[in-house]
């Protein structure tokens, strides 16, 4: 039997794809990553399927590249780096396995998207923590598995959040569950005694979830996660705070985080806010011109016993602090209301992904730094844009305080027209040099996609050695997304 035949025997022939068109679609994304066409695409529908496929791939030393979100992809992590790979497309695994109001936890499979999850959680008076307005095809599981930041830094206690436990198939086909989900006992037995897969660490003296997280599928294939959720807020109060001085904005943001306000809290530059709020290039340009350079978005959320009071005291504190910093929180700026922004933050981007609205193409540069350092990076990127004759006005910026204020996700969105070869090439070169410059300035590529892998691991040889030693344990045959990261 050929490999394809064996795969068909596992998942059924309707779930194995070999036609060139389909294969091509898995060999490209919106990043500048190099392209290797996979040999086939297989769509499992259960953990058992995944396990069988991995065992088969392991026996055949066939590379497996996991995909859970639908297109468009952006970071190159779902593209095969080597020839002859099988794409394991888990987007069809769409079960929401559990929602537990009391413990504020949900358990989901890889294919579940935010728009699918939000209404189900709502029925239980819960809501997910959100990344910044994801595309509608984005897998919730992958979002957290790849350590995307959430918009609510207060609840980002650890870099792992909001991911709790996960089920993973290692490279030899062994199934494992991390954290308290490991047991003792099956999930059913655990539920019976009141456990709810909420403890992320362990079991025992290893944090297996952390080893699988951020690994772009190289350390194991995750078949479900449990994730923490927030109580659906009954009361919200939103503000936009504009300024041309980013430093003052993050001073205010910092204070709100310090006071542990129940707030979504992020900083956008005008282009990104405009792209989020408008549909076409013209509208975006027009709005952008009216907005201040930087906008701090604050959404105070109150749930629980006295939601109004909860929001009220936080609002008062926030406004007082703003006054101290000589800033003016507004309900609307240039016709954009804070409430509209709040709505956009609470769901996916819908049919058209906001990052593609302005020019059709967008290359992200994101890394971890501290709030204090962001201004330096902004300056640097601006300077390089000048050197590349790339308009500074085409760069979106998103700054997301994380880890309860310790660090932040800093993202530059380089918008370009993919149909324009010259511009595309320019952006490519600009992207490369900016990435390098950012690393040189101390920006940390903690999720090193594509060319960042060389930058990040080049600077951290001790990590490379340790990761390789661990990779040998969890993927002894080296079949899991080979070529990614440093392995």
């Amino acid at each position: 039997m050929t490999l394809e035949q064996e795969l068909k025997a596992i998942v059924g022939k309707e779930n194995v794809f070999e036609v060139a068109e389909v294969l091509e679609s898995y060999a490209q994304d919106n990043s500048f990553s190099s392209v290797k066409t996979p040999r086939c695409v297989v769509k499992p529908h259960s953990t058992e399927d995944v396990q069988k496929i991995v065992k088969l791939a392991s026996a055949n030393k066939t590379p497996l590249v996991p995909v859970s979100s639908g297109a468009p992809h952006f970071n190159g992590d779902t593209l095969p780096e080597v020839e002859g790979a099988v794409i394991l497309d888990m987007s069809g695994m769409k079960k929401i396995l559990r929602i537990d109001r009391r413990n504020r936890v949900a358990m989901i499979e890889p294919g579940v998207t935010f728009d699918e999850l939000i209404p189900e959680l709502k029925k239980e008076q819960l809501a997910p923590f959100m990344p910044l307005t994801p595309r509608n095809t984005k897998s919730v599981l992958t979002t957290w598995l790849e350590r995307n930041p959430i918009t609510m830094p207060k609840h980002h206690w650890d870099g792992q959040d909001p991911l709790l436990c996960l089920e993973v198939v290692y490279g030899n086909g062994d199934l494992f569950r991390t954290g308290s989900a490991a047991g003792p006992g099956s999930i059913e037995e655990q539920l019976e005694v009141g456990r709810a897969q909420v403890r992320p660490g362990g079991p025992s003296q290893v944090d297996y979830a952390k080893l699988a997280q951020g690994a772009q599928g190289t350390m194991g294939l995750v078949t479900w996660i449990s994730m923490k959720c927030k109580v659906l807020p009954d009361e919200k109060r939103s503000f936009l705070v504009g300024s041309d001085d980013i430093v003052r904005l993050y001073d205010l943001a910092r204070k709100s985080i310090y006071n542990r306000h129940d707030a979504q809290c992020l900083i956008l530059n005008r282009l990104n806010l405009a792209s989020l709020m408008k549909g076409t290039k013209e509208e975006i340009t027009a709005l952008s011109q009216e907005l201040p350079s930087w906008i701090l978005v604050i959404v105070l959320e109150g749930g629980g016993l006295f939601p109004e009071d909860r929001v009220a005291y936080q609002e008062k504190e926030f406004l007082e602090e703003a006054e101290r910093f000589d800033l003016k929180p507004e309900e609307s700026i240039a016709g954009v209301t804070a409430e509209d922004v709040e709505n956009v933050l609470g769901k996916s981007s819908g049919q058209d992904y906001w990052k593609l609205r302005y020019k059709g193409g967008c290359q992200d540069i994101f890394f971890i730094t501290t709030l204090k350092q962001t201004a330096g990076f902004v300056e640097k990127v601006k300077e390089l844009a000048g050197a590349y004759q790339y308009s500074n006005e085409d760069i979106g910026v998103y700054i997301q305080p994380a880890f309860q204020g310790v660090n932040c996700h800093c993202e530059f969105n380089l918008n370009y027209d993919p149909g324009n070869v010259e511009e595309t090439d320019k952006v490519k070169a600009f992207f490369k040099e900016s990435s390098r410059a950012i690393a040189d300035m101390g920006g940390f590529f903690s999720r090193p996609y594509g060319p960042w892998a060389d930058i990040a691991y080049g600077a951290a040889p001790d990590s490379v050695d340790a990761i390789k030693r661990l990779k040998n344990i969890f993927d002894p045959d080296g079949i899991l997304n080979p070529g990614k990261l440093c392995v």
Binding site: P184, G194, V206, Q213
Partner: protein, 521 residues
Amino acid sequence: MSISKEAYRALEGIVGPEYISQDPVIMDSYCFVWGNEVMFGDKFAARPIAVIIPGSAEEVQEVVKVCNQYNVKFRPHATGWEATALSAAEGFLPIDLRRLNKIIEINEDSMYGVVEPYVSIGALTIEATKKGMRCYSLGAGPSASVVASSTSHCGIGNASIFTGVGGRSVLGVEWILPDGKLLRLGSLGAGCGWFSGDGPGPSLRGAMRGVVGANGGLGVITKVAVKLTPWYGPKVLETSNNPPSYSNDLPENFKVFTMTFPTREDVVDALYLISEEEISHVCSRRGPFAVASGLVGSNEEMWELWKKGIYQKKCANSIVLIMDSTSPECLEYRVKVLNKIVEKTNGAYFTEDSHRDGGKYAHGLLGIGGNKGAFRAGGTFNEGPGAEETMDSLLNLQVMANELKEEFVKTGKLLDDGDPIWLQPFEQGQIGGHGEIPVRFDPCDKEAVKVAREHYEEACKRELASKLGIGPLEGGIGFNDEINDTAGPETMNYHLWMKKIKKALDPNLVSEASFYTNPKE
């Protein structure tokens, strides 16, 4: 195990003769910790083969390399304030890290602190407080090390509901692997600073520690950066009274409450609500004995108080809570919420005179007091069943653990202190919390030590059988092969993966792992 003359000379060459010793008089104080009697039946575990006190991370690395070269088993310790920090059945080389004692940085802007191993929770707390922050709280008290509790042991305390826990506060780490290689985690390894411990790519924090750490069985951590948490109190917390009843003068924006409830179920319901409402800085369910013992100066006073019967009757199911606030409106709101919660869960405020002056026990709960409750009464204590998961599951653990304890209390060899379970929500209840039953006894009473050991063994069995947790030490102190090898088959065979990790990072198996894991050759 012994150490060859060459190896000793090589080690001495690194630190100088003043900082290494093989004198039995000195070595005996390096095999005596409070977990020994239950673990090994005696106050003294195996005598070390030598003791070394390096003066820098570079020296530590050299020491580890020599240990690999000469096959010398070593284990580091920081302040040594841990049940089994210096215990083993066979002698090893303790690396005493007390000379690595610097606070390297306290970063106000990014709310983290960077410390060397001998810096204690008390030390980081006092310095961070001056800048409006605190370190995560620790039940073991202020003399435990930040490095040890965040990277290698447990790292939880009464304020974990607000401060989070040590293991999840870890940012950059400087780690000398068992084979002597240096590994710097996260942003530190990439030369970007201390602000993140995860990546690039998978987070190697996962290999460093799980729900607890490797207890020194996986090399030496020489520096760690940890997240600091907001502190809304004054930069210096004033104190009054005299030892042993020093008390903090609580600032006006803080309040202390003790609440009592008719049933265990009500307590757990209240804990769920308090967590979700996010109104507390400190919040735990403590046993009546623990609640009372924070207020008295000695066992004699404790006995006088206990005889009155108030605590056993009124505080059988109680929660102690310290509320902080960021503004008067915030405080007002939080009090209103708490009143509502107490009403909804059939609770009442405990207004005993001894309890009005919250400052009396606030320092203990805030993590700068000490260990009166655990050690003073009987002389020592040990863990009964313990686990970390939802409060609902810990309620089941509470029932099981108390039944078990009662069977053993009958022997008269464990303190008869009511239901002592400590229930501690973490991170506003979003990752569950911790439950643990301390059993107090006298280490001088051989019979009591035996009973404590039997209780511990039975606790291991019942906890696993009931699916409530891996063993009494879950989240408490640490595991060893005995527990891991028994629990592993019931728990996705995690022990096998762990052994592989140990072997991969410690190819010569020189990092002494009595309380981690030992892969068989």
